[in-house]
């Protein structure tokens, strides 16, 4: 049993008979840890490239889905079916002039995009992409994810404050209020799942959903926790800041929300972070409620590959739902959003938790 990506790399290297010689070389130098560091760096590089490619694909997909709903084509000219469009956008943004407004707080203004971007990457660390495709199976994985996500409001507030623009500040305030009020139902809905599995580790949560009733219906938590799933989905869409809850950048109200004043590469980082967050949150939804990477095992294909494919299919289904919803509904008002969060979602999540707790203690579930 291969526990995580590090061991997987070691396993592959051993399979090609290069690990032993490499290890020997480094051991002879007395620097075994260097090899470990190199392998970890390779892991992180692969993750980074994967996230970058995913984000680019997601921006393309978003534009295509919007276009399909609106009976048009979307990007077509650049590359086949416009596939190169996100690359071009990225290259162009690198080549743009980087403006820092005269009245802005220069340091914070520069720092904020990084503070947004780094947690968006860090979230991926305990997220299992497939069987043994996980950077590190933290024992407190879920807690870690929720904690890391909580950093981004701070960065948004920094960005809004440093821009010295009324629209930015209002956008940042709204974003923070929204993030804080929706993290609570999000966490409460997740805790119900934790009660069922008895573990915070993401891998354990996935493994708990591995079986099937009558051999047909998979034992996903969506069937045991339908209310929890709906709450978690709504709260995560709100956390992602997408329509109908996109207050951070509601175009028609606040010009572009907290990144009104950002241009060039800094703006690109907000953009990247937003889509990385979208992918991460969808992945978490899949892991918690839709059985993660579990699925029918196929012969002759390594389980790592099939599980990755299952995971990606499920994740893109959730992402498609988010995009589809975005094209259908208008946005709600900020006070209505907060009402919904505090007066409806939190009590419902608590109720859900209470019922789950009773049932688990009574031994009905699991």
């Amino acid at each position: 049993m291969i526990a995580n990506a590090y061991e997987l790399i070691v396993y592959i290297l051993t399979l090609f008979r290069v690990y032993e010689p490499l290890l020997n070389v480094f051991q002879a130098l007395g620097a075994e840890y260097v090899l470990r560091i190199i392998i970890v760096l390779v892991e992180i590089a692969v993750l980074f490239v994967f996230v970058l490619l995913t984000v680019m694909f997601l921006t393309w997909m978003e534009r295509k889905v919007v276009a399909m709903v609106q009976s048009r084509y979307g990007p077509m000219v650049t590359g086949p079916r416009g596939l190169l469009q996100p690359v071009m956008d990225g290259v162009k943004l690198i080549g743009k002039e980087d403006i820092i407004p005269a009245k802005a707080d220069r340091w914070i203004f520069t720092l904020a995009p990084f503070i947004v971007f780094i947690p968006a990457l860090l979230v991926f660390i305990p997220l299992p992409f497939g069987e043994s495709l996980i950077i590190s199976d933290l024992r407190v994985g879920l807690l870690y994810i929720i904690a890391i996500s909580a950093i981004s409001p701070i960065a948004i507030l920094l960005a809004g404050w440093a821009s010295n623009n009324k629209y930015s500040l209002m956008g940042a305030m709204r974003a923070v209020a929204q993030d804080i009020s929706y993290t609570i139902p999000l966490a409460l809905a997740a805790i119900a799942v934790v009660l069922l599995t008895g573990s915070l580790s993401m891998v354990d949560i996935v493994n708990a959903q591995g079986g099937a009733w009558f051999g047909v219906i998979p034992q996903w938590f969506i069937f045991i926790q339908p209310l929890g799933f709906i709450l978690f989905l709504i709260a995560s869409i709100a956390e992602m800041g997408r329509i109908p809850f996109d207050f951070q950048e509601s175009e028609s109200e606040l010009v572009a929300g907290f990144f009104t004043e950002y241009s060039g590469m800094k703006f690109a980082m907000f953009f990247l972070a937003e889509y990385a967050h979208l992918f991460a949150v969808s992945g978490i939804v899949v892991t918690l409620f839709l059985g993660g990477w579990t699925g029918p095992v196929l012969p002759f294909i390594p389980v790592q590959i099939t599980s990755l494919v299952y995971f990606l299919i499920k994740t893109y289904a959730v992402i498609f739902f988010a995009m589809w919803l975005r094209d259908t509904v208008p946005r709600v008002r900020i006070d209505q959003l907060l009402n919904l969060g505090w007066k409806i979602m939190v009590p419902l999540a608590l109720l859900n938790l209470l019922v789950t707790g009773f049932l688990v203690t009574a031994g009905v579930m699991v």
Partner: protein
Amino acid sequence: MAWISKNWAMSGIIAGLIVTLKHVLHIGNRPTVTVQYPYERMKVSPRFRGLHAVDENACIGCGICEINCPNSTIQIVKYNTKWYPQVNIGMCLFCGLCVDVCPMNAMKMTGNYELADYTRESLVYGPDRLLFNKEVKQ
């Protein structure tokens, strides 16, 4: 809470989702309507008011179009021993008054709309670019 008790089913949103999904899947005469311009073109109506054209033989250079133009877009200039209108299409309203008033029916408006250019001066269309010859066309 009262609101959620009334709307817990979210039937309106679900109905909306169904409509948009119908568009995604092109169910029931909801096709993609885009005309990919440089490769495909929409049919332009014969009455379309685009770039002017002046019949070389019919035009008598009377200047009625010049006086009738709402914003003095047209000027009569000399070209090859005869007088012809010159149109500054960068200022033109494309209202068609000049076509309506032309006593010889020499002024026409073609379906040409690809007129974008890099300088303001090149938008002044002199007789050399406006004239056409009926005989040659037939």
